[in-house]
Point group: D2
């Protein structure tokens, strides 16, 4: 692992790490990669002031020109794809293929945002009054605070930053304390794009701030940061949401998921197995869209589960930088402990647990590798309704599709879901008003791995935010409704008469 070279190629030098106090450890083997300097919470006010000043200038740059910066960012990301992908693997522990996939997602959102930069469509609207016209327009809103989690250390930033920048807003990014290096790398990549872009980009257009909860609080409570986009746990969201609401800011929350799959009698089981393994085991079960619950029809349960158990046994775990490895480590020992706790709680309910033990401890005494777990549950107990960020797949039988959908919906989270079925009545029912209540509902693909063209997010404890495609960009702008009277009369709406002499 020659990470020093990677850092150098990504432009992170000694100056960037001088005075570093936050130790960054790779989950691969628990070793320290670097010490990164932190920002004192009381310095956040300066950061925000800089961002506010940048906003005044950036909002005056025409949107298609702002799009050009994002286009250049996309080019720089293409150039840095391998290095950044490796750094993601190093810092977050996901396999290199997934590291690359995450960077590709960044590139995709840049392409999308460039197109948006000549749209940002508002509406012209028919007015009821003669000599009047109406329109709805969208405007830059101000600094956007981005709080991201370790598991998607770079893509989530890009989703927010690409849209925010095109929409005319500067960004302030507080990455996870576990993944600050990838954040510094992204900032460097963006700075390269800015250098090519030229003077229209004001100083402080993008800032990275590294630190803990107090720093986050300073960002979240500032009245000068109209939008907070926070990705992470429900616990975090339950703190952030009210704080932002109290000061009348806008939150874009992407919180927990407890994602399910229904496997119906008509499912293509071969495809289902592949989809289950990827979505339950990928990123070592640490995606917000990881498959956590599996509802299998009685008629296929006894075929599917053994195949699954067998497939699980064949998942190669190990150093995520190595080719062929499909599952890397958990992020840290806390994560491992929580996983074991959940498995124990499940067993207490009478569940049968396959796998879930630690592995490779000899090779990586400070790396937390596990075998992925399949847990056959008798009913949907509380442990199954909680999100444990680990490769645990709870499995249950069902006999009636409506029941399966009810169970799927009977959790506090609302992010992602899917059905495997070839029966159009079942698939449509699953997508209907009475179907899955998640923000993402798929057919014959797993719950994870969204394309950037759709809106990403979900209701309930998932937080309600939407990012990425569709009209998610509207969350980064303020809307104005305009009525323009170009007549010489002053008629009132709703035909009201109010005549003074």
């Amino acid at each position: 692992m020659n990470y020093a070279e990677i850092l150098t190629r990504l432009g992170i030098g000694e100056a960037d790490l001088a005075g570093g106090s936050l130790a960054v450890r790779t989950p691969i083997d628990g070793s320290e990669i670097a010490k990164v300097p932190e920002l004192a919470p009381e310095k956040m006010a300066d950061v925000i002031a800089t961002s506010k000043a940048a906003f005044k200038k950036w909002r005056m740059v025409p949107a298609p020109r702002r799009g050009e910066l994002v286009r250049l960012l996309g080019e720089e990301l293409r150039a840095a794809k391998d290095d950044l992908g490796q750094l993601v693997t190093l810092e977050a522990g996901k396999i290199f293929q997934e590291g690359l996939g995450e960077v590709q997602e960044m590139i995709d959102i840049c392409d999308f945002a460039v197109g948006l930069s000549r749209q940002l469509y508002g509406l012209t609207i028919a007015s009821e009054r003669p000599g009047h016209r109406m329109q709805e327009t969208w405007h830059p809103i101000g600094p956007v605070g981005i709080i991201s989690a370790f598991n998607f250390p770079v893509a989530v930033w890009s989703w927010n930053a690409a849209l925010a920048l095109v929409c005319g807003n500067p960004v302030i990014w507080k990455p996870s304390e576990k993944t600050p290096l990838t954040a510094l790398a992204c900032q460097k990549i963006l700075e390269k794009a800015i250098a090519r872009f030229g003077d229209d980009a004001p100083a402080g257009l993008s800032q990275v701030v590294i630190g803990g909860a107090a720093l986050g609080e300073a960002l979240v409570t500032s009245e000068d940061v109209p939008v907070i986009s926070a990705t992470g746990s429900t616990r975090m969201g339950r703190i952030v949401g009210p704080k932002v609401a109290e000061r009348f800011g806008r939150s874009i929350l992407e919180l927990g998921g407890n994602n399910a799959m229904i496997v119906s009698p008509t499912a293509d089981l071969e495809m289902a197995v592949r989809a289950i393994v990827f979505s339950a085991v990928g990123t070592a079960g640490q995606r917000c869209t990881t498959l956590r619950r599996l509802f299998v029809h009685d008629s296929v349960y006894d075929q599917l589960i053994p195949r699954l158990v067998k497939a699980y046994a064949g998942v190669p775990a190990g150093n995520p930088l190595e080719q062929g490895v499909l599952m890397g480590p958990l992020i840290d020992s806390d994560s491992f402990d929580r996983m074991q706790g959940s498995l124990a709680a499940a067993k207490e309910t009478g569940a049968t647990v396959h796998g879930g033990a630690r592995q490779l401890e000899d090779k990586f005494p400070n790396g937390y590798y596990v075998t992925p777990a399949i847990v056959e549950m008798k009913s949907q107990e509380q442990v199954m309704k909680d999100e444990t960020f680990a490769p645990i797949l709870y499995v249950m039988r069902y006999s009636d599709l409506d029941d399966a959908i009810d169970m799927q919906n009977d959790v506090p989270q609302g992010l992602s879901s899917c059905i495997f079925s070839t029966d159009v009545r079942e698939t449509e029912a699953f997508l209907s008003d009475a179907g899955s209540d998640c923000g993402i509902a798929n057919v014959n693909i797993g719950p994870s791995g969204a394309e950037i063209g759709g809106a990403f997010g979900g209701e309930k404890e998932t937080g309600g935010g939407r990012e990425s495609g569709s009209d998610a960009w509207k969350a980064y702008m303020r809307r104005a409704t305009n009525t323009i009277n170009y007549s010489r009369e002053l008629p009132l709406a709703q035909g009201i008469k109010f005549d003074i002499d």
Copy 2:
């Protein structure tokens, strides 16, 4: 004032008022009109349970059929327009013309919602994977709690209810304690429509709950009410918003406004005077969109203010049911006291106050009629940045348009605003990214009196919600992003490779 007959015609009978405990007083003369029964807060759970059950049925009724109910509601409102308009006047004190206007707004939103019921458009989206398709669909979300204020006692409900019903949701309405009769009347009108509509409408589709803060809290904190639409003061919103956020609900907040007009050198002053008087004095200054701040260019200040003072002197105040009267009473004595407090505070800053005194005290010893006030300020002091719900118009000079826009934006509220100017460079600057930061920004019409076709609401302390037209309906639905794989392959997004044997 034969209000008993009005109540009867509107279908409110003795049974509806039996056991009434909440005294309803008309602000016209302070007399008690009726006693209305209140709901104990502990009964809210039943109300919500009923609504939830209604939801399960109503969401299965096709949207165009739901639209038919709203069309019938529009018909019933047309039939009841005069009676309901009078009851609004009686209970809220606004002049009859404005009462009629409010009912017309209800009718308009019904027409609009009927059209929507065959739209509720989601998107089909190009997918990056062969044999896949993507779509974004919108679904009913559940019971919608509506909290409304005394000043628009019926229109605000209809904005929310017409959309919520078409979107597949039942509604629970907690009206202002000052205006419960109009709420009961609306419920009766809707029930007439439901009776014509037939059995597809489940019991409890619309419920009115009357009571105080504890009742409101029971509604706001319920996890079974996914959407809370609350109209009222910033103070209220600062409580409601975080409470809803804490339980991951969705708020639609329509809070305070501190709305301004800029009068530029090229303004048509004749039109400006008319617009100012209507928007500052109408509803006795108790609209959320009431004009409260006036920035006048130096070159026309000395022409405009005397004309305005003169026009104010000619505003006929009195019983709002009487023809010719343009200004009714304040809602109550508290409101009067707050107005006097603000005027005193303004004077302390050196302001010149025209008008603002109580009038008609002899005729209405318990009715709080005032002369509308014009307050010439030397600078934008704190009193001017607060919203006082009364007919006070703060006036200031400006010499540079950018300064005027800065002053206009330099308040915590963000609802409505306008410019009077015939210079297209000024009017466009006012509407631009660097112009007014309000949700509503008009040209050559006042800040109040929006058409229902546009989205209504604003940022900052106004709360960020949008109601009525444009895509405001989306706030009443849950969004799902669907990817459907109809191939026999399982490609991953972003080109990720993850192959198990």
Copy 3:
């Protein structure tokens, strides 16, 4: 049949029929109902001049106000539903249930158009130049000529008229010479609405012109009629389209269909039989969306066809005003002759023909009633690729879905199509880029009976026009792209430099 009373109730009196020269015969028994006056082609110029003058006024009426007229039209249609439905039956020969359905469609489009009247959304668009804004707006375009066919004598008019009126355009309607009475009735109903609406509606807003091809030509070739919406045969469209193109007008063509159904191995055959009978036999096979071709998978062919033959045998034909009757007469003897010709041609190719003979000749010597025909084809011969406006259903086997889709697409027409299957891979393939090439493609419902919320029409010889829902309204307006420079600079797009001193 007391049609005189119906005419009276619909407001058609002697004055309307004075000097009548065009004999109207009911296909029920061939008897003459009335003689209707015709317009000489040389009078068309006056009609168009009146329409043009009406346009100048009507376009100035705000769109939501125009919507109010259409709302009133909807009310009047509701009131006249039974009478107009019966007149449709009388004049066009379709069963009363279908007559009512046609009027319901008129009512639905009115509701939809009322909602549209507060939308007619254009776009505001991000501009690449500082101090500039862009927008796209939609404007009334001028008189709309409507040419309609006998088989939907009233609905097609309403689709066009409701949208055209809301969009700010007057209409000139040339109905089929076979169904002028229903046209007169619609005009009367609209006039009632106009009377309630008041003076904003200019004289000549809607005009009906009755006559033959020369009259149509005068309408089609006029440069003062920017939009021609023509529904009818491909033969007609091949004449009208180029004539309108030559004068740079806009055509909305709704021409022939040769609509197919694919019945796959997984189809619900019970539902398929019902759908086939309704869509092949309804309106005696004289809908543009009538099912004409049936592709049945080998594995179910021998089950389905006998059931179908049996069901056909049970279709009650007769006087379409009588309850229980499901199939009325063909429109006239020419139609009958063409049907017999097609059956003969099919037989020559070796096809097996079930049914198709004349019936009820004794009772209705001048009414052309037939038994509906099922024609088992060996291959898709030319006769099957032509549209014969009669209840002939050509049936073929298939073994591979791709082949079935190819056959379905291998006709010159492109209106409607459907698949019966419960396999989502099949249904999605049918709807995909490689699936049906028709403007309408359904799953598990027949090809006919569209809701008004979608756009109606198809490519190829169907003519390419779209009517009814979605953004079909845009065809009735002219689009303008606006760039507004509110700066003091004059930058050029694409960064071009062009400096004069």
Copy 4:
């Protein structure tokens, strides 16, 4: 002029010109640059067959992947910008700055189309039937024929090709016989992008065919080319439109413009002069959006015209490759003759003509350089209603804005228009339903130089097509309306009852 090197750098080698029969002359000095091979009209069938085969493959490539090809095309265009810009200048005679601007427009549309490739949004639509859903989807349609004119030899192709390719269609391009080299160069640039893109791009995805009217006719009349996008003269469109209509194809016509500017009393005259010179003189008056008619208010006429005459006198004409030159040659001697004819016709009506004579004849005996002409007209005579493709600006006085707008609209063409005014009532009136009837209507910028974000085109003899931004992409796709029944019932739309046993 080392054009050989340019051709080499653009990849055009001897093989490409082998057997060349069509002489390409630069309008700069009339010299022959190259001989280009032509395609025999009877070979068009092969070209179309190749395109059809390519279509079958290309439509199966997911749209975002198709977008990737267009992104690569954008990159290649950036790399070739200078060379292609020079070749445009060489072949079409426009100044190098405009040549570069044209290539920039190509780059811009590529960026825009890449974004589109993840959108191509259809709609999901509320259905009136339980257990049903509706959607509107957009699909590739087939080969797109592009016919372009000499004056925008490359941009027009890119507008069509970028959208067509993203929409899933191959393209066949017949460029002007006067500018085949730039077409070959574009094809080479696209081939470079295709080479990088890889095997997903089928052979024959883009083809260039060079030849005359017979070749064009073979393209236009083919039933296998569903879309013809033709840019050029109204005369051409009057032939093409009906031919395409006759075979039920779809035309996108961008034909003549006779574009006007209104200069009102409040106009910024300094800006007006600059805008007039650029838009009337740029490209030597040979843009479709060239300013041809100027309506000046009485009160400023006598100020403006002399300034304009003076500015015209200072326009440096000459070799368009030389820096500082603002006006190059006319395309050929025919063009010069038509210009002189129009000037003579204008003089006969009593007009005063400034400029318009040939210049630089000594230096370029075979290059047709003129001085731009200002023609003061007494009334809007026929010569002014015709489009003469040359730098002639007809000028007239007006006193009332409505009259000016009437005159502006009183020509058969409807492409572009603008007003210079700072009075918002005037500017809004100009943009209103009663304002300019052109597809493009601007305020305080000239009629030419559109950004790619808006739809480009106009009504009347301009042909009605729209290209470039907004929803212009829909013209390159076929629309399908789908209703999917996933219930076990078969309800009919409009509540029709049709029950068989």
